[in-house]
Amino acid sequence: MAYAHTIEHAEIVHRCFRCGYCKFPSDYVDFNCPSYKAFGWDTYSPGGRMWLIRAWLNDEIKTSPHFAEILYSCVACDNCKNQCVFPKFRDFLPDIFQEAKAELVNEGRIPPKVRDYFKAIATNGNPYKLPQSERGKWAEGTGLQPYTNQEYLFYAGCVGSYDEVGQKMARSVGKLLANAGVSAGIFGSEEACDGNEVKILGEIGLFTKLAQENIEQFKAKGIKKIITLDPHALNVFKKEYPKLGGIFRVFHYTEILAGLIKEKKLALSDYPAKVTYHDSCYLARHNQIYGPPREILKAIPGIELVEMRRNALNAFCCGGGGGNFFTDILGTGEDSAGRVRVREARETRARIVAVACPSCAKMLSDAVKTEGLEDTLEVLGIAEIIERARAK
């Protein structure tokens, strides 16, 4: 029996004119859609996807592995939402892509890598298939204590808890929070996946379960304020949890650290370095947090902050969003997002790419190796840079 596809915003999909502005930054210097940049076919651009989705909803094309791959190659960077020429309509572009993916989940026709991601989260509670008991190991030696009614919960997330690069970032933030006397605790082995990528990838049932369990846990422990390491977690806590009754004050760690530096609670020494800052999509475009990471870097004596050609609202994604960090559907070719981005960073002649997101840190670190730039470019979390400035 034929499967009748439907999505919430089906009635407006036809309005995409496919003019193509969605795949550019504001000044048109390059293609700013990571999947279009990687593959070069219009089907991989937001407009191409819109036309494919319309044809699919009208049963003019059938679900296929290739169609699913095209949908899942979107990294949810939100560039299209900002560049589309149609006001209001453009706000729904990311929703339409996510709804189409959710429909593929309902149909059971998702790429194997996406299926494996969901399975790992559902079975292990994290995409790394590592034991829950190891989730809080990163915090050893940071001075952070288990959460017991402190002012803030510091939420590390899956990447910060299990990935080697993410753990380094989490440890740096944890040490700074503890040293500055911030009242913050962690859940450790009780922390669970925030579900941001699960939702973006379209598994709404699994996302709802994760979110509801987290909300119950947060409420049971009396959590009012959360500091996140990961902008992806910040995004889902701020935007999706309130819809399920989870209303918390959510901060990114760079906002807290910028405040501590202003209040002179973190002493900084001279650290001479030319640094460029890579905006995380979920911190910048999704949540309009552009200032705090830059304020921190500018506050460090000796640091020369230079901007990349594409920055802030027009920053090019690292390629790790939309679950691609785990599914790697964009691949590692020459025009893959991470490699393009580190080449752009190199153009600034900076020696350090500062990042505020563990996924960006991992994606760009890998890209630096692939591009053979290890001797000239280093990827560091904002807190790691602060630590270097404090070590002198």
């Binding site: 009635e11 036809h14 309005r15 995409c16 004119f17 496919r18 003019c19 502005y21 550019f24 048109y28 020429v85 149609f86 309509f89």
Partner: protein
């Protein structure tokens, strides 16, 4: 016009023009009927005929109950100009799309009657041009196509002389 630059300007300047606000305005026009589409015919014609083209666009829009936009564009060194006729449609409204097609076909027929030559003609415009073409010119076109593309693999469907 004084500089004789025309509609085709130097590449860098043209790139800016292509990607700046005027073109975004064109995209906006496509969304007026909230349907994501417009089709245009851009006959190259002589300047003194422009007022009649402008009147015709308004007449066709009223006749077929469609939204219109028109513009003029200099070609190359200013030796001729294009009068662009656009009709917007809603891709979810097949009846509106049919009305736009009829309006455009009638606009093309008008342009050919006036001695105009459609710019980048679509299939229907090609057909109408070839019907109006001098038989010797049509035969020449057929001969060129037959000799250079005997298997009909180059742009099949385009400029097919039957």
């Amino acid at each position: 016009m004084d500089s004789k630059d025309g509609g085709f300007m130097s590449v860098q300047y043209m790139k800016e023009m292509l990607l700046e606000m005027p073109q975004r305005g064109i995209a906006d026009f496509a969304d007026v009927p909230k349907g994501g589409g417009f089709e245009y015919s851009g006959p190259i014609t002589i300047l003194s005929h422009f007022p009649r083209y402008a009147a015709k666009v308004v007449e066709l829009a009223a006749k077929y109950d469609v939204l219109y936009a028109s513009s003029a564009r200099l070609i190359s060194g200013g030796h001729c100009m294009m009068f662009s006729i656009s009709f917007a449609f809603n891709r979810n409204d097949p009846a509106m799309m049919t009305r736009v097609k009829h309006a455009l076909d009638e606009a093309t027929a008008f342009a050919l009657e006036m001695g105009g030559i459609p710019w980048k003609p679509n299939f229907m415009e090609q057909k109408m041009i070839m019907e109006k073409m001098d038989p010797a010119a049509r035969k020449l076109l057929q001969m060129i196509k037959k000799n250079l593309d005997p298997q009909g693999i180059m742009n099949p469907g385009n400029w097919e002389v039957n």
